[in-house]
């Protein structure tokens, strides 16, 4: 239509000024970052040994699967949806992985099968939500019961995993300097980077935000709302499948009781990370911070030593309240 690259941008001055003005939409993420620094500070001041970098790395090691699942959840919540099935799909994946390995399937086949299964369940729910106009809450609730139930069809007991590849991966420690991480952490970080890239730099990613902002407008702007919706649930399913694989590394077993309530942890991490439940606003970085908050709470309670682990839940609950209130304040002021 016109030759754009030869034209000089008309307002370079405003463009430069812009960067120094903090945007209100970054406020929730900033708040989470501040909270983390505060919690970390409290930990370092009160407990000896807390300042060891390995403590932070351990949080990633212990929550790599949650991080992957929460990234998938971020896509769904950005469109204004919700996915309750993730915990159950994670559990089902561990079961299927354990069963197939027990029957002597090679890891090179088991891995893709696990990922494919997760994506397929997500795809199914996405199609249901889009074509039959079912509430995401209900569709994924059905998916949750289905997946959790299927676990017990496979076995009511825990199935141990002793495949050599699996054992090797789960025991691997990647050392650098005096610290180490697990392979799962690498996988999780890769997922985070890919997701952040997709959301910020691909048309699909921007469609996700548009759909979350105003689905009707997005449709009238000619965006493929249905395709985007189905895709985010498929991505969430894929992430759940991958999360299940990581959990099977971590637990070295498949069990129907694995990851119970994980969907709620994932949602909590996403919300604490500053993503609006109404959709359209949030970042994968926020979700990483959200998972870190959950991990830090656990770590602090472990260091404290005399608190029951239920205090984790109490603090998560409190933080959720605070962040949801914060979100309301931000969105209301923006209006």
């Amino acid at each position: 239509m016109m030759d754009l690259d030869t034209k000089v941008a008309p307002a370079p001055v405003t463009a430069r000024v812009r960067r120094f003005v903090p945007r209100q939409k970054y406020l929730p993420v900033t708040a989470t970052a501040v909270l983390i620094s505060l919690m970390y500070g409290i930990g370092v001041v009160n407990y000896t040994g807390f300042s060891d970098t390995q403590i932070v790395l351990n949080i990633f090691i212990d929550n790599a699967f949650l991080l992957v699942v929460a990234v998938g959840m971020t896509f769904v919540i950005l469109t204004g949806g919700i996915d309750l099935s993730v915990g159950a799909v994670v559990a089902l994946t561990t079961m299927v992985v354990a069963l197939l390995l027990e029957n002597g399937w090679p890891p090179a086949v088991v891995l893709p099968v696990a990922l494919l299964m997760g994506s397929t369940i997500g795809l199914g729910m996405g199609l249901m939500i889009h074509y039959f106009d079912v509430q995401p809450f209900i569709a994924t609730l059905a998916g949750m019961f289905l997946a959790r139930g299927l676990c017990y069809v496979i076995s009511t007991d825990s199935i141990p995993i002793d495949d050599p590849f699996w054992v090797r991966v789960s025991n691997a420690q990647l050392w650098f300097g005096g610290w180490f991480i697990s392979i799962s952490v690498l996988v999780a970080l890769a997922v985070v980077l890919i997701a952040a890239y997709v959301l910020a730099y691909t048309t699909f990613g921007r469609d996700v935000y548009a759909v979350g902002g105003d689905p009707q407008s997005a449709r009238l702007m000619g965006l493929r709302v249905g395709r985007t919706r189905v895709a985010v649930y498929t991505i969430s399913g894929l992430c759940s499948g991958l999360g299940g694989v990581l959990l099977s590394f971590y637990m070295s077993s498949g069990y129907g009781l694995h990851a119970s309530g994980m969907e709620l942890d994932a949602i909590a991490a996403v919300v604490i990370g500053g993503t609006l439940l109404t959709g359209g606003s949030g970042y994968v970085l926020g979700t990483v911070l959200g998972v870190l908050v959950l991990g830090l709470i656990q770590t602090i309670i472990t260091f404290q030593g005399n608190l029951s682990s239920w205090w984790t839940k109490i603090f998560i609950g409190l933080f959720l309240f605070v962040f949801i209130v914060l979100q309301r304040v931000v969105t209301r002021r923006r209006r």
Partner: protein
């Protein structure tokens, strides 16, 4: 305009919704390089026709040919691909995305699947520059005024290599200079050979810009006319299809007599009431049976005053009295208890519940006032609703239809009915006639007169000064979120003086 081949032909288009025939055998022809006005009252089927054209709805009958080929759009995306771009009446953009994205999303510049943000910003800035708008394209759309958002929507439509540009009420939220700007752009596009379908309720604008027009009434085609060959009066007659008596009544109605009004204790009086960042402290008294008009440009603080008086926002300065007694509203609930009603400006998002029926929407406020523990008996509901549907001439007159199936003007009437049922002492009407047609406008104006004659106080907010002057006993003039003048509506007052007051900040 040359009588070449039409770029677009719609023939015999029919569309029905549950319980409503929205379109019945409608034809439309668009030629390249013309501005074609689509005219009709609310509910005449303009919006439906446009949605069929742009693929948002599927038509039940008829066919569409674009550039000589028959087309059937599965959705807006395909219509856009085919070269039909649309700016809708209700701004359909995503407030959570940046201005640049709103202009370009769906066709963002990419390289190897990666969005080139800098190219995107530059292109958005260029497109907005064509509309003489220079704003930070990286800012969120939601932070800008409705007028700016409208311009962004138009910039978006311009970016597509459009053969047909549909502008559905683009001017209803623009001020005069913005309208001129838009018309300049439209003329430029026309010269480029684009066919523009233009929908508006402002007849003057039609005569200023349109070459031809198609008139609809009640979902049927009235005819296709050349603008130069149809007088305004004939056009209005064609649109409403009845004698113009009703219209002329209101046009010729004598100016409201200020003297006839006895002013005792005001029903509502604000004393240096204000809210930081929204409106500077103002004093305003509204008496029984008085219509107070608020005049001022978009964003001058009209709606802010309304929201303070209704308790939707909380004042942080000054005092509010109702019937002489000081009150502090904690929310709309308390205002409603004092029998203050508010019809908001944006009926789609702030007022109506689209999925509920006409009856349910009308009963809503009354029910809220009674409290949920005491449901309004169904018999009484039906009786009340039937009365107001009749009194306000809500069409179609079926109280069990979902409100979303009604046209804009009829939705506005439903909103009015909702508040009238509660028998308020003060009715705040924020742009009640925006985006609705002459006939419905006259009806609503007549209603305001009747209500105030019956003793109700009305705060009337409108961008159209003529309307404000015609109805009000007193005009409060706003500028830059400050009440700058209060003018008695006596013989000497005309739009020029009000405009002078706006322009000079009240020194006139």
């Amino acid at each position: 305009m040359s009588e070449t081949e039409p770029v677009l032909v719609m023939r015999g288009i029919g569309k029905r919704f549950p319980g409503v025939v929205a379109l019945d055998g409608v034809d439309l022809r668009l030629f390249p390089g013309e501005v074609h006005a689509l005219m009709g009252e609310n509910g005449a089927g303009k919006s439906t026709l446009i949605k069929v054209l742009t693929g948002a709805y599927h038509h039940d009958q008829g066919d569409i040919t674009l550039g000589g080929e028959q087309v059937a759009f599965a959705g807006p995306h395909q219509a856009q691909q085919a070269g039909i771009s649309t700016v809708y009446q209700e701004i359909n953009l995503c407030p959570n995305l940046s201005v640049a994205e709103n202009v370009l999303i769906g066709r963002s510049p990419t390289r190897f699947g990666r969005i080139r943000w800098s190219a995107m910003r530059r292109r958005a800035e260029d497109l907005l520059a064509r509309l003489h708008l220079s704003i930070d394209v990286g800012s969120d759309l939601g932070t800008h005024s409705i007028a700016v958002q409208q311009m962004v929507a138009i910039a978006r439509a311009l970016d597509v290599d459009a053969k047909v540009l549909v502008l559905d009420e683009p001017t209803s939220s623009l001020d005069a200079s913005e309208v001129d700007q838009l018309f300049r752009v439209m003329r430029g596009l026309k010269d480029e050979g684009i066919a523009i379908l233009f929908v508006t309720h402002f007849l003057d604008q039609v005569y200023e810009i349109a070459d031809r027009m198609t008139v609809l009434r009640n979902g049927r085609l009235v005819g296709e006319f050349r603008t130069a060959e149809l007088s305004q009066l004939d056009l209005v007659a064609a649109m409403i299809g009845k004698e113009l008596a009703a219209l002329e009544d209101i046009e010729e109605a004598p100016r409201r007599e200020v003297a006839a009004l006895e002013r005792g204790t005001p029903i509502v009086s604000a004393e240096t009431l204000g809210r930081t960042g929204a409106i500077a402290p103002f004093s305003l008294a509204i008496h029984k049976g008085e219509v107070v008009g608020l005049a001022g440009l978009l964003g001058s603080g009209r709606t802010e005053i309304a929201r303070l008086l209704f308790g939707a926002d909380r004042a942080d300065q000054g005092r509010l009295r109702v019937d002489g007694a000081p009150v502090a509203f904690r929310g709309p609930q308390s205002a409603m208890r004092h029998r203050i009603a508010y019809c908001p400006e944006n009926r789609r998002t702030d007022g109506l519940v689209e999925d509920l029926t006409v009856r349910e929407n009308i009963i809503l406020a009354m029910q809220a006032a009674r409290g949920w523990a005491r449901p309004v008996p169904r018999g009484r509901q039906d009786e009340l609703v039937a009365r107001y549907v009749k009194a306000l001439d809500i069409r179609p007159a079926d109280p069990e239809l979902p409100v979303r199936n009604l046209s804009g003007g009829n939705q506005q009437k439903v909103l009015l009915a909702r508040w009238l049922i509660t028998e308020p002492k003060l009715m705040i009407l924020d742009e009640p006639t925006r985006g609705i047609d002459v006939g419905a406008k006259a009806e609503i104006q007549r209603l305001v007169v009747e209500l105030s004659d019956g003793g109700m106080a009305v705060l009337f907010i409108s961008a159209e000064l003529e309307e404000v002057l015609r109805l009000s006993h007193k005009v409060a003039v706003l500028r830059d979120r400050r009440l700058v003048a209060e003018l008695e509506n006596t013989d000497g007052l005309d739009t020029d003086r009000v405009m002078a007051a706006i322009a000079s900040g009240g020194a006139a």
